[in-house]
């Protein structure tokens, strides 16, 4: 039980952690979540604001697209909460990706959705949430940088 105490070296451990520490993997998870949510909102609002009754096959296509977006956003959310660590800089990058996606989605909604008032309100909510996330991420990073300077 207690015999051999020589374990894996720290560099072995680091090598096995490299997947979790990969920045590309973290950004990939953020993109999956943001793109999935943006697609879900876009297709959902487009469908909900259609003035007339849609043909059955179109409804199936809309449903399929929404399911696909739901799967991608679910995967992104799961990866971000359970698989990859999000450090302060990652959160800042993620918040800006979310803000950019929100602006693009809003522009798309206003251009395409028949009821522009609804599109503008939904877009404003998306942009508002993204701005709050970006401000929080920047504040958190600034607090950590301040603490780093104090300790250095």
């Amino acid at each position: 039980m207690m015999g051999d105490l020589s374990g894996p070296s720290p560099d072995d451990a680091l090598a096995r952690l490299s997947g979790s520490l990969s920045r590309a993997r973290r950004i990939g998870a953020v993109v999956a979540l943001v793109a999935g949510l943006a697609g879900l909102v876009f297709v959902g609002l487009l469908w909900a604001t259609e003035p007339g009754e849609l043909p059955g096959r179109t409804r199936v296509a809309f449903g399929g697209l929404m399911a696909l977006c739901l799967v991608w956003s679910g995967y992104g959310g799961w990866a971000l909460t359970r698989r990859v660590p999000m450090f302060a800089l990652d959160r800042v990058v993620a918040a800006w990706i979310a803000l950019a996606a929100s602006v693009l989605t809003t522009a798309g909604l206003v251009a395409v959705v028949p009821r522009q008032g609804v599109a503008a309100i939904v877009g404003a909510v998306l942009i508002g949430v993204s701005v709050v996330l970006a401000v929080r991420a920047h504040l958190r990073r600034a607090a950590l940088l301040r603490r780093k300077r104090e300790l250095s």
């Binding site: 105490l5 096995r16 952690l17 660590p85 450090f87 959160r91 950590l144």
Partner: protein
């Protein structure tokens, strides 16, 4: 202070700080896990602990209290593994002394280390944390989720058991 700075740098997302943190704490973590588990299980569990530490690090509220937080995660992971191995929580906590490897005494570096294998899990754990990891009674209490008074009484009992165990093995008092 140095640990706090390192943890803050990790929370900022500095890759080299993460590598430094793993290099600084891998040996103490391995020592704890290895004292509690067999070599094969210790390897897996140590890696599980590091994964949990990395995932939880961005949310660590008190970077200056990294060591107790690390060992709390390590303890939880070790206990999960022991429960899995022995079947029931109570069974592992009151487990009979683990059978010792006859070769262990030849390679162990100190009497304390040599005697640890013969102790029940609770007593072994508290000796490892307090003596081998140099953690305070307060930190041990936080890690084991017990009052400081219980840590002291458990340490007393562990020392007594260890003394008896070593004397049985022929060590002089």
């Amino acid at each position: 202070m140095a640990d706090e700075l390192l943890v803050v740098r990790c929370q900022l997302g500095e890759r080299e700080a993460l590598a430094e943190l793993v290099r600084a704490w891998h040996a103490p973590l391995w020592t704890y896990v290895r004292r509690m588990l067999s070599a094969g299980a210790a390897d897996d569990v140590t890696q599980e602990v590091w994964l949990a530490v990395l995932r939880g690090l961005p949310r660590l509220k008190e970077p200056g209290r990294f060591a107790p937080w690390l060992f709390t995660i390590a303890r939880r992971t070790v206990m999960d593994r022991l429960r899995h191995e022995y079947g029931a929580a109570e069974a592992e906590l009151t487990a009979e002394p683990v059978a010792d490897d006859p070769a262990a005494a030849l390679v162990d570096r100190a009497e304390l280390v040599a005697g640890l294998a013969g102790l029940p899990v609770r007593e072994r754990e508290i000796l490892v944390l307090f003596y081998l990891e140099d953690l305070s009674v307060e930190d041990c209490a936080q890690i084991c989720a017990i009052p400081t008074g219980t840590v002291k009484s458990r340490l007393n009992r562990a020392r007594r058991l260890l003394r008896e165990h070593l004397m049985e093995r022929g060590y002089q008092q």
